[in-house]
Each structure stands twice: as C-alpha cells, then as structure tokens.
C-alpha cells in the first residue's frame, strides 16, 4: 500500500512539472504500404539518442521533442524496410508514414544495420512479440498453424499434454491467462479437446505475450496476457489467401470498402474462415456400416471458426472498427431404427464482438472506446425415445455451462514529453456465469439441478500507467490499477501496484526489474487440465475467494551482433499465488451422486482453495532477421502447491510442474523458393498420481459379529495406495518436427506447398498411463489361485505424422 502511494506521488509530481523548453510534437499513423494495414510496434526514434516511441494497437504515434531546425526520424520494424525522414522541426505537425514489406525486394538481401528493435530499449520485461510471419514457416501438427502452440515454445511457457494448446505460464494454471482478441476475452481458446487453438493465423496481425511485469492496463488474470490483434483488411485492393490441408481448409478475403468510386478508400473489410472436414470424409464409411446394421446411424465431428473485421475512417481524427469472432466445435450422433431413436451431442463455442472508436484529441492525446461482447457456451445432450415399448420410455439429459460478458472500456494515451507518456482508462464488465445447469428427465421423474443457478456479477477497473525516463539511462513503467468486484452485497476493492524499470548499462545491455500484483475474480474448475470443454468457468463467491498473485522478476537483455539482430534475454522470477482452487479429492465434473443432496452437488462444495509458489530462470536467444532466424528457449522452474485439504496439507508438485523445458526453433531460407524449418523440444515429465500398492483397509462400521469370518464387525475394503500426491514422474517429453515449404509465384497468385513431419523420430511420448491386469486362473483343491501380473502401460498419442498443405495468396 505504501509503495502504491509513493508511485502516485511520483506521478503527480511529474504531471505538474513545468515545461523547461518549448516542445514540438509530431504525430500520425504508420501503415503498411501495400494494404494500408495499421502497424503495431513500429519504432520511431532519433538516431543515436535514447529518444523514441513505438506505435500501439491502432498504429498511432506521437513524439514531442524540443524545437530545432531539422531532425532525422527513423521508422523501423522487423520485416519492413526502414524509413528515414529528414524534417524541419519548429512547429507541430502530422505525418502518416507507410512502410514497405522487405519480402517484396526479392533478390536484395537486407542487412538491418540499425539499432532498430533493440530489446534493450524497452522498459517492459517478460514480454515477447510473436512474429506472426515466422509462425507461418514452422512445421505443425496436421498442417494446422497454431499461434498458441508457438507460444508454448517460448521460455516460461509450458504446454499441457501431447498436442494440447493449453498454456501454463510461470507455474500458473490454464485459467490464469488473459487471452484477448481485439479487446474481447476468449474463454475457451481450444478446438477438438485442445488439440487446436481457436485462432486462425491468417487473420492475425500481431500476437503479444506478457508473462510478468504486467502494465496496469491489463488485469483480471494472474499469469499472462496474450493479446491478439486481427488484421484490418486490405485498403488498396481486393485480395485473399487460403489453403487446403489434411483436416481443414481455410479462406481469407479482404478488400477496400468503396462507396464512391471517385473518392479515396475510407474503409476495408476482412473475412476469414476455417472448417474441418473429417465428418465428410467419414460419411461413406459410416454409411457402409449402416448397411449391415438394423438402424441408421450418423455421427461425426467438425469445428469451424470465422473472423470478420470492418473498419471505417470517418475523418482524420475518427476511426471505427468492428471485429467479430465466431467458433464452434460440434460432435453429433444420431441413431434411428424401428424400435428406438437416439440423438446425442456435445458442442462448445465462443462468440466475441468488439466495436471500437478511435479518436485523436489534438496531437498528444489518443483515445479509444470499446464496446465488447464475449460468450462461451458448452452443451451436452442425450435424447432417447423407445418407440415400441409399452411404457413410454424416454430419457433426456441436458447439461449447459457458460459465461457471457458485456464490457465497456475507454483508454487514453497521452504523450506529454519525449521522456514521459501516460495511459489511463476505465473498464466495466458485466458477467453472467452459468457454471452448471442440468436437466435429467425420464418417464417417472424429472431432476432439475441448478437450472436457474446463474451468477450475475460486475467486474470493474480504473487504471493509470506512465512510461517515464527520469535520466536517459533509466526507463520506468509504473502504474496502479484499482479493481472492483460486485457480487451479492459485498463489493470487493483491490489495489494492484505495477512497476517495471530498465537501466541501460551500455548501449546494448540493459538490466530490468519488475513487480506486479494481480487479482482474478473467476476460476476454472478442471479435472484434467487438458482444456476439455468439461472445464467450468466459475465466479469468485462468498465461499470461494478471488485468486491473487504477486510476482517479482529481474533480468538482463543484451543485443549482440546488430547486423544479425541477435538478442539474449535472461530472467528470473518468483511468484506467489493465493486462493487458487482445485477439485477436492474424489470430486469431479458432473458427478451426480445419489448419496448426496442437490446442494452438496454444487460446484462450491467440490472445490478447495490453497496457495501456489513458483520460481525459475528463463533464457532466450532470439534471431529475428536474416536468412536464418529462430530462437533457443530454456526454462528451469519449480512450482509447489499447498492445500489444506489435499495431500493432507503437505506441499506437492502440481501436474505441470516442469524442471527443465527446452525449445529450439529454426527457420532457414535456403533459396527464395524454398524455406526449411525445424523444432525440437524437451520437457520434464508431468507429475502424476498413480496407484502403487493395494491393501485391505478396515472401516469401523460396527455390525453384529454373528459370523465366523468377521467376529468384530469391522468392514473391509481393498484400497489403493498412491504414495504422495503427484509423486510419480512421467517420462520426459521430446519431439522433433521438420518442415519444408516450396513457394512459387504464378501468374495471378502465389502458391506454397507446405510439408510438415510431426514427431520426426517417432518418439512415443506419454499421453496417459493406465494399469492393466493380466490374470491367469488355475484351480486348486482348496479353491483357486490367481497369478496376477499388473503392468503400468503408457499410451502415446501421436506417432510420426506427416502432413501436407497447399496454400495460396492473391
């Protein structure tokens, strides 16, 4: 608390500081030349000084520096040609800049001789911008390019099980990631039980991962922020791209919105879709099977997603954007015969929608208002009808779970001076949680559990943050967020101080430290951690307190060999988490037990809360430019959980505690037409609970001792012994993926054949373990003996899996 007051005082001090010199402001938008797409993360700086700024989400920049006759400004970004502008600089001016993609200079090898994008320049730490273009070059599982799986390759981030897109950041759970797509929260970012993520790489402009030192503008989750921005759409001409893969096809179309041929384009649109076709492929096989059986069965699975974005420039000062995402996973099974009908299904999906309005107030202030809708729903149903039965013998089960949000948000960026800028905002979100609504119906009874049990809560926040450079060598991002949570009659207010600072030791070496306090007012109930749709989102309630965390991190960044754009990052962190929840021992999703009453079956009674602690070291070497690019990431970490009601109060390793985690990622442009790529990953095995022994346990339940075998009336059971919770370590995970791409420019379009080999050396990685019993009976004169051989078996999921995708772009 004292700390936050000090920060506040500092902020006020510098707001009121008088102007020493007359400052001149240059501001504008930076766009991509060909498509007029607004560019995020473009660095604008005065060469050989520490004065500079970078564009934010809407491509806007504003730089105030002392007036002078002329200045040289550099605009630069990875993957684009640098632009150097020499301008007179004695009065305020507006300058929109267009940068050209460096790939369009086919034969010229670009040497990026500059201090562009130096990691050591930014005050933020634990933040990684994912190069969306690099993602497209990497090998993948079944040809599906997946942003979240690439994020798993970064240090500090761990995957769940084989093939899963669930994300565990610095010892945090999969619910502690704030995944936002154009400002809208995406609650379940997985398709097909987590094997694919919901994000279609074609439609994305930028992906940014923050693991610690969170700026105050983000809140509501403990462990990470994954901020995804959709492309705006090509403003110059109608274009598209797409691909045909083994399991799905995708298509993206974009183009200008023209209402008047004679006027310049004011807006653009983008539509991008993807759908799997396993169900179409399977249909003939199912039909063949139907011919043999009495009834008719149709079953299948598909998922699709659709991204839509529209933007319109009302005038130079006002822009509006509308973006929407829609995705669904559907399993269906229908059976019809003369005697009975059955209809069953399982589906889940997200809908998000964001309407935004950008407004430029003068030159130094940029505002954005967002109206956001987000919805996640999950449903299982079974309906059985027996036609010929005398009694009506119908059975219906319907289970719903979901969350629906409406938010309103306003953010303002204020660029006061070259060494100080501010950002502040307010946000209000109304959540409606329906954790579980179950209806069971048969001829004789109807059970209606928690049908109307939904929670309506408000989650609000105000924040302010400032980037400030008191002396040229030090840059500080300090902020404060006040979050408010309204459920029933007990509002909760929590103050979250955030600070990160960088000290530039040398031109190419910086030391950084950060502290962040986070609160999370919702929990994810998960048995498996697999990102299954059976995971339930639940609000913090009077019984189940909100989660909170504090994290400190320290690290160093060094840029070496500027021609090749190599940077090395080393970071250490310590994170403490409070009130994280877990299922109680023995509890599970949808365990309807006739032993317990309806109230006992509610989720609040199935969970228990505890504490988590995580610490580790992360090492990252990155090379972003040149013929060869890629990264090496290594993490050493340790995570411990302590729950009063689990493991009898003793600390234990959660399932995804991982001591070592290594990723090697490389992309090599062999020829202009051929790109090679490879990924190798290694991770310590998951911590699991596995039965190791069996014994006879006596219960005191007293009964009359009236038979010879049981004179004292104790009852006995065979029980399993598991050892300490999660004391079994699965075998380590490692895998090599290889990819090759052949590019060719055709007359009207450009095509790419993309061949991937997943798990190239066919490593049998553990997916789960199960005990299996081989018994041989042999009779004896007194009874029978059993020769019992129990073995633990490892099930692996993906052997070597090649795939091929045809991609096109026009």
């Amino acid at each position: 608390m004292l700390k936050s007051i000090q920060i506040c005082a500092l902020l006020i001090l510098f707001l009121t500081e008088s102007y020493a010199q007359q400052l001149v402001t240059i501001s504008g938008f930076v766009k991509e030349k060909k498509t007029k797409e607004l560019l995020i993360g473009v660095n604008i700086y005065l060469p050989n000084t520490n004065t500079g700024i970078s564009t934010k989400t809407y491509g806007y920049y504003s730089l105030s520096i002392p007036a002078q006759d002329s200045v040289t400004l550099v605009y630069s970004m990875v993957g684009f040609q640098r632009k150097i502008m020499r301008l007179p600089f004695n009065k305020n001016q507006k300058l929109d800049i267009e940068l050209e993609d460096e790939n369009y200079l086919q034969e010229v090898v670009i040497s990026s001789k500059s201090e562009q994008n130096k990691q050591s320049n930014s005050p933020n730490m634990s933040k990684i911008d994912l190069p969306v273009d690099q993602i497209k070059n990497l090998p993948t599982l079944m040809g599906e390019k997946d942003v979240l799986k690439i994020i798993q390759l970064l240090p500090g981030v761990q995957k769940a099980s084989e093939g899963q897109s669930g994300i565990y950041v610095r010892g945090g759970g999969p619910d502690q990631n704030l995944i936002i797509l154009d400002d809208a929260v995406v609650y379940n970012a997985s398709h097909l039980f987590g094997f694919f993520s919901t994000f279609n790489g074609d439609a994305l402009k930028s992906v940014e991962l923050t693991k610690g030192g969170f700026p105050a503008r983000y809140g509501g989750r403990l462990s990470s922020v994954i901020d995804l921005t959709m492309k705006d759409g090509n403003k110059e001409k109608f274009s598209g791209e797409g691909g045909f893969g083994l399991i799905s096809s995708r298509l993206l179309l974009e183009g200008p919105l023209k209402f008047n041929k004679n006027k310049p384009t004011k807006g653009s649109f983008l539509v991008s879709g993807r759908r799997t076709y396993v169900d179409f492929v399977m249909r003939p096989f199912i039909k063949a099977q139907n011919q043999e059986s009495e009834g008719k069965q149709t079953s299948g699975y598909y998922f699709y997603d659709l991204n839509i974005k529209l933007n319109y420039e009302i005038n130079a000062k006002n822009k509006i954007f509308l973006s929407s995402y829609l995705g669904d996973d559907v399993f269906y099974n229908k059976y019809t015969s003369e005697t009975d009908n059955s209809d069953a299904g399982l589906n889940w999906g997200n809908i998000t929608s964001t309407l935004r309005w950008n407004h430029v107030f003068g030159q130094k202030t940029f505002g954005n208002a967002s109206l956001i809708y987000s919805n996640y729903g999950f449903n299982i149903f079974t309906k059985e009808t027996r036609l010929n039965s005398l009694e009506a013998n119908n059975f219906t089960l319907n289970y719903d779970s979901g969350i629906e949000d409406y938010s309103l948000k306003y953010d303002v960026d204020y660029y006061q001076k070259p060494n100080i800028s501010f950002r502040f905002g307010v946000m209000a979100t109304h959540h409606t949680f329906t954790p579980e609504a179950l209806i069971l119906q048969n001829a004789s009874s109807e059970v209606n559990l928690n049908k109307d049990k939904s929670y309506k809560v408000w989650e609000n926040a105000i924040y302010t943050e400032s980037i400030w450079s008191p002396v040229p060598k030090i840059k500080i991002n300090a902020g404060l967020r006040l979050s408010q949570y309204l459920i029933t009659n007990a509002p909760q207010h929590r103050l979250e101080p955030r600070v990160s600072a960088a000290y530039k030791v040398k031109d190419d070496l910086a030391i950084k430290v950060s502290y962040a306090n986070m609160n999370q007012y919702l929990h994810l109930l998960t048995n498996t951690g697999l990102g299954l749709p059976t995971d339930l989102w639940v609000p913090a309630t009077e019984k189940v307190a909100p989660q909170s965390s504090s994290q400190i991190a320290a690290g160093a960044v060094k840029d070496i060999n500027q021609d090749k754009g190599i940077s090395i990052t080393l970071e250490g962190y310590y994170k403490k988490m409070n009130n994280i929840i877990s299922y109680k021992e023995g509890a599970s999703f949808l365990s309807i037990n006739s032993n317990t009453s309806v109230e006992d079956n509610g989720w609040e009674n199935k969970v228990t809360s505890g504490q988590g602690e995580s610490y580790g070291m992360e090492f990252l070497v990155q090379k972003k430019v040149g013929k060869f690019s890629g990264w090496v990431g290594y993490t050493w970490s340790k995570t411990l959980w302590t729950f009063e009601e689990l493991n009898f109060g003793k600390s234990f390793y959660p399932k995804y505690d991982r001591r070592h985690d290594l990723s090697l990622v490389g992309i090599y442009k062999l020829k202009p037409k051929i790109t090679l790529s490879g990924i190798w990953i290694y991770g310590t095995g998951n911590a699991l609970t596995i039965p190791i022994a069996e014994y006879r346990a006596y219960s005191s339940t007293y009964i009359r001792g009236d038979n010879l075998d049981n004179p004292i009336g104790w009852r006995n059971f065979t029980v399993q012994e598991y050892g300490e919770r999660n004391s079994f370590r699965a075998e380590p995970y490692h895998r090599l993926d290889l990819g090759i791409q052949f590019h060719k420019k055709k007359k009207r379009f450009e095509r790419t054949w993309d061949v991937s080999i997943y798990n190239a050396y066919n490593r049998k990685n553990p997916f789960f373990y199960t005990a299996s019993n081989d018994q041989t009976f042999f009779g004896t004169s007194t009874g029978s003996n059993t020769n019992n051989t129990l073995t633990l078996k490892r099930y692996s999921l993906f052997p070597i899996l090649p795939s091929i995708t045809y991609n096109f772009k026009f």
């Binding site: 006739s594 339940t701 075998d709 370590r729 059993t786 129990l790 490892r794 070597i800």
Partner: protein, 345 residues
C-alpha cells in the same frame, strides 16, 4: 513431374503405415522408487469395549507378478458380500499397546486373524493417549491416538413405525420398519467429531431346507436378525454417519429421520418359493450409539468412504486414504461412546 508426385505419394503412405504400429508400451518397474511391502495396522480403541482388536496386514505392490490366495475371501457385511483381492494377514508379529506407563502384548487369534487383548488385561481410559506398535521381520510400525475425554448423550430419541413403498423391477413392494429421530449437543470450545450408529435386532421365520434321500424337507425356524441405519435418499450410510462441529461449535446436532427396515429374503427351492416372515408381535431391540471420535478416526473414515464412492469414476481425482501409522498404512483411532437401548414394545 508426375513421376516425382508418385514417389512422394508412395513415401507418404509408407510413413503412414510405419506409424500405425502400437502406441501402448509397458513401463519398466525401475521407474517406481518405492515398491516395498508395508504393514497395514488398524485398531479402534474405546473404553466401553470388552476387547481390543488390532488387525495387521501387508500392502502388496500393484505392479509386477503377485500371487494372491483367493480362498475364503467372501466377507459378509450385513446384506452384501464383498470380494476381497488382498486377503493377507501377518500372524508372526509382536504387537504391543502402551499408555506410556504400562504396556501389554496382544495375542494373535488364528480363528479370526486379529491380534487381541481383553479389557481385564489392559484397560482403555478416557483422555489417555495410547500407542500401538507392531514388528514383523524387518517391518516395524507404530501409531498413537488420544481417547476423547468426554462422552455425549443421545437426547430426545423418538421411534415410530414406518413403511415405505418401493418399486423393484419385478413388483411393487414395501419396506417395513421404524423411523428414528434424535439429537445431541456439541461440546463447546473444542473441535469435535461424531459417529452415529444404529442396530435393530428382530426375529424372523425362515425356511431351513434339508435333503434327505433326495427329498427336500422344509422346516420353518425362528432366527435372530439384525438391521442397520438406512438414511433417506441414500445408498450408503457411510456419508451420513460421521459429523464434524466445524462451523457449528456448541450447536445442537439433529438427526431428523433415519430408518430401520426388516430384511426380506426369498428362498427358491425345488418344492417352491419361500419368503422370510416377521414373527407377529415380537419385540424388537433398537440400539443407538453416539461416539465422540478422534480427528484421525474422522479423517480416516471420511477418506475411506470417499475412496469407495469414486472407485469407478475415471474423471474423479484419486483419493488418498488417510493414515496415522508411521512407516505403514491403516489407522489407530480412539473414541468414547454412549448407547441407548430401547425395546419397541
């Protein structure tokens, strides 16, 4: 070009076939660090009991080849039979009990496989702490428990005749018996745990079938039978038998309705089908016990019933059964009991 494409297709298909081999593998035993046998010791100590019993068995590592003797493993518990897979007992151990000052050795009873000592030879007293030790070969275990010092009285016991209509797959039937109601007052100012237990003794007429020279002879005899608490809407009594005063310190605990039902058996013989029948106007003895149990008693029983409840649910988190036995498994727990016995006449 076509040729190249064919080569590509062939190599692709061969990779697919190669990958179709099994993806299930055995895990070597060397990955398990601790696969030794351990002793399993269980005892419940109560000042009101006439005998002290200690059961001593061994845990069997699950993995690897184990010979299990499956003779005599049917254990009858009330109205159901449990098939036991692990039925080992340790008969050669030295088992001792001590209150810190005096101690005694328990004797193995080969008939029912428990170690035992009578109250005459070793007395359990309220408020004292007892330690039981067992040693067999190089395995050694011990566990301690404190007997709760206070007993809690059963108040306001009410008994009324009760009938319930049940529908089975074959027919509509009735359950005949009694419904009980009672309460007790929690001891304030300390954490307490309770166990309730009920038993009804009744007489039934049952056929006894004898085969004499290939002929069936049926005679009807009177037999003493026992029934136990049945909770409304419950399949198992385990969940409702144990109570804690957490968040209810000093409160009155009330059992609103719990039932006893007479068990009806059907005997199918060559000469016909017989049903067991109630002896008209016979007196039934109802016995209700309320035990003030130690925390380890509560934790152990709770984890045991949770373990059994979720045995076959693949999604459920695994349950560790509580133990307070050092270097082994099982539980040594104390309790202090009151009892009310009422005849229905």
């Amino acid at each position: 070009m076509r040729n190249k494409f064919n080569i590509f297709i062939i190599s692709y298909l061969s990779i697919i076939f190669l990958s179709c081999e099994t993806i299930i593998d055995d895990i070597p035993l060397s990955r398990f660090p601790d696969l030794q046998e351990k002793l399993v010791m269980t005892s419940f100590l109560c000042p009101q009991d006439t005998m002290i019993y200690v059961s001593l068995g061994k845990s069997i590592p699950l993995f690897g080849t184990v010979k299990i003797d499956t003779t005599k493993v049917l254990i009858y518990t009330g109205d159901s039979a449990n098939f036991l897979r692990v039925n080992n007992y340790v008969s050669d151990a030295i088992v001792s009990i001590s209150d810190g000052i005096k101690g005694s050795i328990l004797k193995f009873n080969p008939k029912h496989k428990f170690y035992e000592i009578s109250r005459r030879d070793f007395r359990i007293e309220s408020g004292k702490t007892y330690t039981i030790k067992a040693k067999s070969g190089n395995l050694e275990v011990e566990a301690s428990t404190k007997i709760p010092s206070q007993r809690v009285r059963i108040n306001n016991l009410q008994i009324r005749p009760f009938m319930q209509i049940t529908s089975t797959f074959f027919e509509k039937d009735t359950n005949i018996g009694y419904q009980l109601q009672f309460d007790w007052l929690d001891i304030a100012g300390e954490p307490n745990y309770y166990k309730v237990f009920g038993e009804m003794t009744y007489q039934q007429l049952e056929p006894v079938i004898k085969n004499v020279e290939n002929k069936e002879e049926v005679s009807i005899v009177e037999k003493t039978k026992y029934a136990y608490f049945r909770w409304p809407n419950e399949q198992s009594s385990a969940v409702r038998s144990y109570y804690t005063d957490q968040n209810a310190d000093g409160n009155q605990f009330k059992i609103g309705a719990v039932n006893f039902f007479e068990n009806r058996s059907i005997f199918r013989t060559k000469s016909g089908t017989y049903k067991s029948e109630t002896v008209p106007d016979s007196d039934k003895i109802i016995r209700v016990q309320l035990s003030n149990i130690s925390k380890e008693f509560y934790d152990y029983q709770k984890s045991l019933s949770e373990h059994n409840r979720t045995d076959d649910n693949p999604f459920a988190e695994p349950i560790q059964v509580y133990t307070n036995v050092k270097n082994g498994f099982g539980c040594v727990a104390g309790y202090n009991r009151t009892e009310t016995v009422v005849g229905t006449k």
